[in-house]
Symmetry: C2
Subunit: 250 residues, 2 copies
């Protein structure tokens, strides 16, 4: 039975897309069967993997309840359900219980994958709530800067509300610090602060700042295709291993 | 007659808040009377200036059409209309023509300021459209990375649509590269690409990566209070001067 994880944080630019794509690829390298779902209308995960305007996307699944299997694009390290710009319209969709549509759609495919990772947009709208409602866990990327830390309290409250009202299964799998630069006092201070506040919820693995992660996106590759020896590749492989350990999956 | 500028880009983490606060402070140092408006429900500009939970915010102005003057918090370099988490509810507001409410509210105060800068959230929802509808210009912060560059075409299309349908006055004042690190080949490549694509729309001023800009936010100060000699202060002062030149304001 596949584990569904939302990679989410309403603060912008904290590394949600970079984490979804490269954690997905790392889990693939460890032998897991992985599906990525791009739930951001900006389609950054779709673009980071070099896909242009895919015919079928998450939009048709949410708007018309098309069979989710028809939206899956097969790949080496992982399969992908791409996004499309039309997805922005889903926010205004008035269907009753629209936030449960994605959860229903996953029922057909959950057994075919070990992991389903959902890249969420930088907001708390219907797409993020749909992803959390369909998830077993949330992974929160945290940039080690003041504004990102400030938003965490609000975001964790939202997780609790979704768990209480929409999805009793939902738990926080962990918080992963991204774009970390140990030379910056600010980054070390914020990290200390986050450790004190969130304790065990923090992953031991930190994702260091590594320009190769940004470069790989401009050539449509995940980090293991672009440079499997760089810090970014090592860090995301460490994170994948730590997640398997937390879930007791060998 | 005050100039209203939206600092907007739906891509997350590109420096919208950092630009609104520090460009505002720079214009204040050049003798301009400035008002900042925090239109992001995450209230990052409000938090970056050390304001906790302000009683009156933009929410009351948009939701109940309260007198906008009652939401203004006075300051040294600039005044501020703070945000509040309730602002997220405005997205679901069904008032007819809700996107014009902010434009109406500004009519009372436009003459009291030389500049009104609006910090927009990382989305294309009702708050960003309201800000653009109320604005004379848009300034787009652009992180010199692939995913940020990819989103520009979509964003510029939105500007055109708002101009055609909602606000004929709206023009693009310029695109400013933020968090620039000249040592990174990726940053130089993306900058070249943006210059070729957007030509004169690009500001000559670039905002270099400067940790002082992030540090200043954690102590609730704008960059000129925190360290008026650092790169961040120099760059935002250059940007303010370049904007005055583009607008023929001496
Ligand atoms: N560890 C890292 N080292 C260097 N660059 C990184 C790292 N993680 C992310 N980036 C870069 O930072 C930028 C923001 O990351 P990303 O787009 O993944 O964040 P996001 O949270 O998905 O943003 P959004 O809120 O817009 O969805 C991207 O250009 C990405 O390449
Ligand atoms: N020139 C810069 N040098 C160093 N750090 C910067 C610079 N500009 C912004 N930052 C930092 O990068 C992070 C993202 O910037 P900011 O929050 O202003 O972006 P934003 O576009 O407003 O994000 P959001 O999409 O969440 O609203 C912040 O932690 C900020 O301190
Ligand atoms: Mg993203
Ligand atoms: Mg912001």
């Amino acid at each position: 039975m596949g584990v569904v994880i939302s990679v989410a944080n309403h603060k912008g630019g904290v590394g949600k897309t970079t984490t979804t794509v490269n954690l997905g690829a790392a889990l693939g390298r460890l032998g897991m069967k992985v599906l990525l779902v791009d739930a951001d209308p900006q389609a950054n995960a779709t673009r980071a993997l070099g896909l242009k305007k895919p015919e079928k996307s998450l939009y048709q699944v949410l708007a018309f309840q098309d069979d989710i299997r028809t939206a899956i694009h097969g790949g080496d390290a992982f399969d992908l359900i791409p996004s499309s710009v039309h997805l922005a319209g889903f926010e205004k969709n008035n269907d009753v219980g629209k936030e449960f549509i994605l959860q229903e759609a996953f029922a057909d495919i959950k057994d075919h994958y070990d992991f389903i990772l959902i890249d969420c947009p930088p907001s708390l709208g219907a797409l993020t709530i749909s992803a959390l409602t369909a998830s077993d866990y949330a992974v929160i990327p945290l940039q080690s800067e003041f504004l990102a830390l400030q938003g965490m309290t609000d975001f964790i409250k939202i997780l609790r509300t979704v768990k209480t009202r929409m999805n009793k299964e939902l738990d926080l799998l962990g918080i992963v610090v991204t774009q970390f630069d140990h030379r910056k006092v600010l980054h070390r201070d914020i990290y200390e602060h986050a450790l004190q506040t969130y304790g065990d919820a923090m992953f031991g693995t930190m994702i260091r700042g590594n320009v190769a992660l940004a470069e790989s996106q401009s050539v449509g590759q995940h980090i293991f295709e672009y440079d499997h020896t760089c810090n970014g590749a090592t860090d995301y492989l460490d994170l994948a291993n730590e997640i398997l350990k937390r879930l007791n999956i060998s």
